[in-house]
């Protein structure tokens, strides 16, 4: 087993395409996860008992079933009932929904830690429920949740690797294709690992900044 630099240079452009897809999927899924999670947390907080049970059921479903099962279900089973979607929206959607469920729990936790006295102040100032959420509760929820949410975005970024299973050319998918074509596994998977690790670094930097500022 020897390291072949010429082979590395040959597969690097393909892996870079994979990086682009990985970044695209991470950004799109994160947008769904962070906003969806926030909406779910708000919905659960303002709902009736029945509404809360409904939200909780879907949260547990999204958190309890492996993402790969959901991906296969959406990719292979939905077409059988007449719903056929391209792989990319399915991949983005499934990861977005799964991580929205996780994010929702983070937002819910931060909502609980907001002192009840601040809500009293909103009532005393006669702020409407909409203004209370928009200007007071949501900004505080986001601020308090940010470090934990950044961790989930990091997890989502790594989790994009499973999308190669439905043919999306993310970094892991491109590495797999290169390895299958050449029967050389050392360089593609080592490079994929190094690139994933390298792309983690900006997130880790941001997290450390948060800790310095708010810890």
């Amino acid at each position: 087993m020897t390291w072949d630099w010429s082979y590395v240079l040959q597969i690097l452009p393909e892996l870079m395409v994979g990086v682009c897809y990985t970044v695209l999927v991470t950004l799109a899924s994160s947008a769904i996860a962070l906003t969806g999670g926030l909406l779910l947390a708000i919905l659960e907080s303002v709902s009736t008992k029945f509404g809360r049970a409904f939200v909780r059921f879907w949260l547990e479903l999204a958190r309890g079933v492996p993402a790969l099962v959901l991906l296969y279900f959406a990719f292979y089973v939905l077409p059988e009932v007449g719903v056929t979607l391209p792989a990319m929206p399915i991949g983005i959607g499934v990861l977005g929904i799964v991580y929205a469920a996780y994010s929702s729990e983070v937002y819910r936790g931060s909502l609980i830690t907001i002192p009840a006295e601040l809500r009293d102040a909103c009532v005393a100032l006669n702020l409407s429920p909409y203004v209370t959420w928009q200007r007071v509760l949501v900004p505080l929820m986001i601020k308090r949740s940010a470090p934990a949410l950044l961790n989930y975005v990091l997890g989502l970024f790594r989790h994009t690797a499973v999308l190669f299973a439905i043919g999306i050319p993310v970094l892991m998918g491109e590495a797999m294709v290169a390895a299958d074509q050449s029967f050389r596994y050392l360089e593609p998977f080592t490079l994929a690992g190094v690139i994933y690790l390298g792309m983690n670094l900006p997130f880790l930097y941001l997290l450390s900044r948060f800790k310095v500022k708010y810890a």
Partner: protein, 288 residues
């Protein structure tokens, strides 16, 4: 620091405009309200939390412009009275009226809708023990949030008004500071300005110096003295600062175990209380 003479944040024209706005918005009730003999009325109000009775058949009537201080041992129901008046809690039984309008029931005896409740609540303001400033907003943003969203003032108008109130509490240099950058006394003065900027006719002050050391408490009490002297606002105060209560109040109401056990002028309550319980309470507080 604020002097009584300084405590007039808005000119007559602005005060008149605010009064006019209130009058327009409360058109249906204005005539009734103007004739109301009482700014706040508690009629046989009781409040229970489970089996624990916090207030028992409380009758309390406060005149417009009157400064009333509620005193009594901790857990005697004083804060609950303010929370009920601010609609932060609902009584278990009885009725509460603000300028003649029930804040519990409509004219048909049904519970008030949220909008009806909000309209009446607009006449009240409240300052809390823990300040309750919004920590993610600057001082200015804390002050203009309600005027721009509730009174629908323009940002410019709200900022102008905010600066006047900040000048009143002697904190205009803190306009861009965040609450965490201020001392407790400064935060409480901002909280008072935030309540006053909505020009409430009734101001509820809930142990506003309890979280402060004596020096910072002094700054806050100076502001309240100014408000009490200069603004024609009904004050309902809960405090353990007996000297302040005696100085600023028109009437003292003594609570014990959820009931009013005695009320009267500060002179009478502090020098010649009728109730043995009042005497014991005052002795324990004043000798502390």
């Amino acid at each position: 620091m604020l002097s009584s003479a300084q405590c007039s944040p808005s000119g007559p024209s602005e005060a008149a405009a605010a009064a006019a706005t209130n009058a327009t918005e409360a058109a249906g009730s204005a005539a009734k309200s103007q004739q109301a003999m009482w700014s706040i009325e508690f009629e046989k109000v009781s409040k229970s939390f489970g089996a624990h009775r916090v207030l028992v058949d409380v009758d309390l009537h406060v005149r417009p412009g009157e400064k009333v201080t509620l005193i009594g041992p901790s857990g005697s129901g004083k804060t609950t009275v303010l929370r009920l008046a601010m609609t932060l809690a609902k009584p278990t039984s009885g009725d509460i009226r603000v300028f003649g309008e029930s804040i519990i029931f409509d004219s048909a005896g049904k519970p008030l809708s949220n909008s009806q409740e909000a309209r009446i609540r607009r006449r009240c303001g409240m300052v809390f023990q823990q300040f309750n400033l919004f920590p993610h907003l600057t001082v200015l943003q804390n002050l203009i949030l309600a005027p721009t969203t509730v009174l629908r003032q323009s940002r410019e108008q709200a900022e102008k008004s905010a600066l006047e109130y900040l000048r009143m509490v002697d904190l205009e240099d803190k306009v861009h500071a965040y609450p965490a950058q201020l001392s407790g006394g400064q935060q409480q003065r901002i909280a008072i300005a935030r309540a006053l900027i909505l020009k409430p006719e009734i101001l509820l002050l809930d142990e506003i110096t309890s979280a402060l050391d004596p020096e910072l408490a002094g700054e806050v009490l100076d502001v309240v003295r100014g408000v009490a002297h200069e603004l024609k606002v009904t004050l309902l105060i809960v405090t353990h600062e007996m000297r302040f209560a005696r100085e600023v109040s028109d009437r003292i109401v003594v609570f014990d175990a959820g009931r009013i056990i005695e009320q009267g002028s500060p002179e009478k309550i502090f020098t010649n209380p009728e109730s043995e319980r009042t005497r014991a309470f005052l002795q324990s507080v004043l000798n502390h």
